[in-house]
């Protein structure tokens, strides 16, 4: 019961752009205070799963990411919707999330302690190497022209510089505006670039009404879709889980990485960005697996692995449970209740989303002249509700215009957003590492995990360069 209510409320909340899992769960946390701890936590877990999926709905239908982990879903999800395949996109996202969530729960039960050790071995150098690797995959997101991809990325990194310097505390590009002190929040940027940018670009073209089918059979993914997606889901699950265990990385990074991995291993990478179903399946599986994995540090070490688990941990404390390594030993029935509730939440999510997909898809039948203002409304409320701040709305509007021009000129907004997400994490980890090593670069290469990741990152830069050099050479010699 609690799980059904939680999933539905969560989806509703998650479908509002800007109200992502952390704020959604926080909003709903007080609702659970009157309940028994176990039903309360079941409801929270269900809401968490629901908000994660709710964010996907708007990404696919109106190109407006509901929360940060579904930004990358816009790329192919919205393209699928334009081709009249919103139903299969939402369907595969639900199935992928279900599989990833279920496998995640099993892994959570079986290998938590080992995973906690893996998480602990990730210090600042390892985090930096991982972020660097993430940044090198940017060309995968960028579409046809890698150069334009890099330009978008550098633009994103420049935006990531805004805010106080983490070590010296000097204000960077703040212009005395207090709102800029924390840096540029990437969700308003993403909502602007994707959602509003799309509306602006769409207003120019006389877009034909999308072909919409609401018959349940056509709405669900076909066997061919499934065949295309199953490995994407498997890879997304594993990658998402491993990344999700790491403190600070979380579902957003997991979704970006799995998308780029999927494009890399695909035999037809040119389909990505044009409605490839794997491009929806992989990141959606990854973000759900990562969301489950974020519970590993919380349950084994008592340290929240993500913003949302931090809030859930706050909820646990309200019930008098003390976080820490002893949580598992002292409250086994509670912890197993939490794990079981994750499982129930995943089942509920699959049932509820499948039943509701025809309804969501029908929303696209609304004529453009009405749908567009509605999307703008969504974008504005989404940007505002993030921190109850009008400044974020302004930021979203500005980036809407930027998004329009990027779209017109063929620059990738996803590359910009990726850089804005990874940039601050990479910078902090880099500088922490250098403080710890007393400015020695060796720290990145003498530690095994970090060394492997660094080599991969360098290879990711060097290989395309070498290829490029070879074609250049062969051209000049012939």
């Amino acid at each position: 019961m609690m799980a059904v209510a939680g999933v539905l409320v969560g989806m509703l909340i998650g479908a509002l752009p800007g109200v992502g899992p952390p704020s959604g769960v926080a909003l709903l946390l007080p609702l659970t205070f009157g309940m028994e701890p176990t039903s309360g936590i079941i409801m929270l877990a269900a809401m968490y799963a629901g908000t994660m999926y709710g964010g996907t709905i708007t990404s696919v239908l109106i190109n407006t990411p509901g929360e940060s982990a579904s930004v990358v879903t816009c790329l192919d999800g919205y393209q699928m919707a334009l081709q009249g395949r919103a139903g299969p996109a939402l369907g595969i996202a639900a199935i992928g999330s279900f599989i990833a969530g279920t496998v995640g729960v099993v892994l959570l039960m079986l290998v938590s302690p080992a995973l906690a050790r893996w998480a602990l071995s990730f210090g600042p150098p390892e985090t930096f190497a991982l972020m660097l690797l993430g940044l090198t995959t940017v060309t995968m997101l960028a579409g046809e022209d890698p150069l334009k991809g890099y330009i978008s990325m550098v633009l994103g990194l420049m935006l990531a510089m805004v805010g106080f310097d983490i070590i010296s505390g000097d204000a960077r590009y703040g212009f005395g505006v207090p709102e800029l002190m924390d840096g540029i929040d990437f969700l308003p940027v993403a909502i602007g670039l994707f959602g509003l940018g799309e509306v602006l670009a769409g207003a120019e073209e006389k877009t034909a009404q999308m072909k919409i089918s609401v018959r349940l059979r056509e709405v669900l993914p076909s066997l061919a879709d499934w065949a295309q997606s199953k490995w994407a889901i498997a890879r997304g699950t594993v990658l998402g889980f491993l990344v999700g265990v790491l403190p600070g990385a979380g579902p957003t990074v997991a979704s970006f990485l799995s998308y780029t991995v999927e494009k890399k291993v695909s035999r037809t990478p040119e389909r990505f960005g044009k409605g490839a179903i794997e491009g929806v399946a992989a990141p959606e599986s990854a973000n759900n697996a990562a969301a489950t994995a974020a519970m590993v540090p919380m349950l084994t070490l008592g340290i929240p692995g993500s913003a949302t688990t931090a809030i859930m941990l706050g909820g646990l404390m309200m019930w008098g449970l003390r976080p820490g390594p002893l949580l598992f030993e002292k409250n086994p029935q509670f912890v197993w209740g939490l794990i079981a509730s994750q499982y129930i939440a995943n089942v509920m999510l699959l049932v509820a989303s499948t039943a509701l997909i025809p309804l969501f898809v029908r929303a696209l039948r609304i004529p453009y002249s009405i749908l567009m203002p509605l999307i703008i409304l969504f974008c504005v409320t989404g940007a505002y509700s993030l921190k109850n701040n009008l400044f974020d709305v302004g930021q979203m509007l500005v980036f809407g215009v930027v998004g329009y021009f990027m779209k017109k000129l063929g620059y990738s907004p996803a590359a910009l957003v990726l850089a804005l997400v990874l940039g601050p994490l990479a910078e902090r980890a880099l500088r922490q590492s250098l403080i710890i090593s007393d400015a020695g670069v060796g720290i990145f290469f003498t530690r095994p995990i970090s060394a492997v990741l660094m080599v991969l990152a360098l290879a990711a830069i060097a290989v395309p360069l070498a290829k490029w050099g070879r074609t250049l050479f062969s051209r000049s010699s012939s």
Partner: protein, 319 residues
């Protein structure tokens, strides 16, 4: 003249009446931090109790960002009628005014104190792989190896960071600061031994110390913490004048009628001493503690002097 007297009398009378009937509509607590943190949960706990008492909703509204400055600014500019109040921690009232040269509001004039809600003592912890096992050994080790010992913090200029700076001054040691974004990642890296030391709230730390995953060296409060009865205070460990920690309090916009402030202060005191609220706050690792507006002002000023001196001496800048 008579008119002025009448006006004044009428004004006084209305404010008293207002205070007697207050609140007649929902009251908003602006919480200048994200939902789910310790400050937010403590604020919500007290808000829920006041809702019961007043028969009016007390809503905690999160306005996070810029080290609490955005939320504080919103409260500073709110109508001073007692229906918008501000939750603060030591950082907003006693650190930000020195750390941030240009605040959008005047920290000396924007707010009127109401009451303290609770104190949040810190605990100094060491990674299990770090050799020294007590404050005494730590000080000796750090003196022999200046700048070699690293300490993590939840962020540059936060109260845990400043606590560590006070500790260095009091002990004559030089440690290397590694700032993190929030206490969670700092704690993880401490546990793994990527950094040596961390000051964090007793709430965040006590579970790990009890489980033997971290070494608890000292608490920064005047008294030992009930959650960590075996960990000495800094004074007991031989470090004088380094007591520190955070606290959470309630303020009002400056021009709020004094009668309302007194009423809220009295009601907060009652709420904070209610057994169920006490229990919840203690579970948060807090020490429930109400105060009069005057006592709160004195606390704000005292901490502002202490932290201000450290910030100026060390030339610290905000993150």
């Amino acid at each position: 003249m008579i008119k002025i007297v009448i006006a004044a009398v009428l004004f006084a009378a209305t404010t008293i009446v207002v205070a007697q009937t207050y609140p007649t509509k929902p009251v908003t607590f602006i919480v200048p931090f994200p939902p789910g943190g310790g400050t937010d949960i403590s604020a919500r706990t007290v808000a829920a109790k006041l809702t019961q008492k007043w028969g009016q909703s007390v809503i905690a509204e999160n306005r996070a960002g810029a080290a609490g400055i955005l939320g504080a600014d919103a409260a500073a500019k709110a109508r001073p009628d007692g229906y918008t109040l501000l939750i603060v921690n030591v950082g907003i009232t006693s650190i930000n005014p020195t750390l941030y040269p240009k605040l959008p509001y005047d920290p000396d004039k924007a707010f009127a104190p109401i009451s303290l809600l609770c104190e949040l003592p810190f605990v100094l912890m060491a990674s299990p792989s770090f050799k020294p096992n007590s404050v005494k050994e730590l000080v000796a080790f750090a003196k022999a190896n200046p700048d070699k010992v690293t300490f993590a913090s939840s962020g540059q200029g936060g109260s845990p960071h400043l606590t560590a700076e006070i500790f260095q001054l009091a002990t004559g040691t030089r440690l290397t600061h590694v700032p993190y974004k929030g206490g969670g990642p700092a704690m993880t890296d401490l546990m793994a031994g990527h950094v040596d030391l961390l000051f964090a709230s007793v709430l965040e730390g006590s579970g790990h110390i009890k489980a033997g995953k971290l070494k608890g060296l000292a608490v920064t409060h005047a008294k030992r913490s009930p959650a960590l009865p075996d960990v000495p205070t800094l004074a007991e460990a031989g470090v004088k004048d380094a007591e520190s920690g955070s606290w959470i309090a309630l303020l009002a916009p400056a021009a709020t009628p004094a009668a309302i402030i007194d009423k809220v202060a009295a009601d907060v005191k009652e709420a904070v001493s209610a057994p169920d609220v006490r229990e919840k706050l203690i579970a948060q690792g807090a020490v429930p503690q109400a105060s009069t507006p005057k006592e709160l002002q004195a606390l704000i000023d005292k901490d502002r002097g202490r932290y201000g001196r450290i910030i100026r001496e060390k030339g610290l800048k905000p993150e």
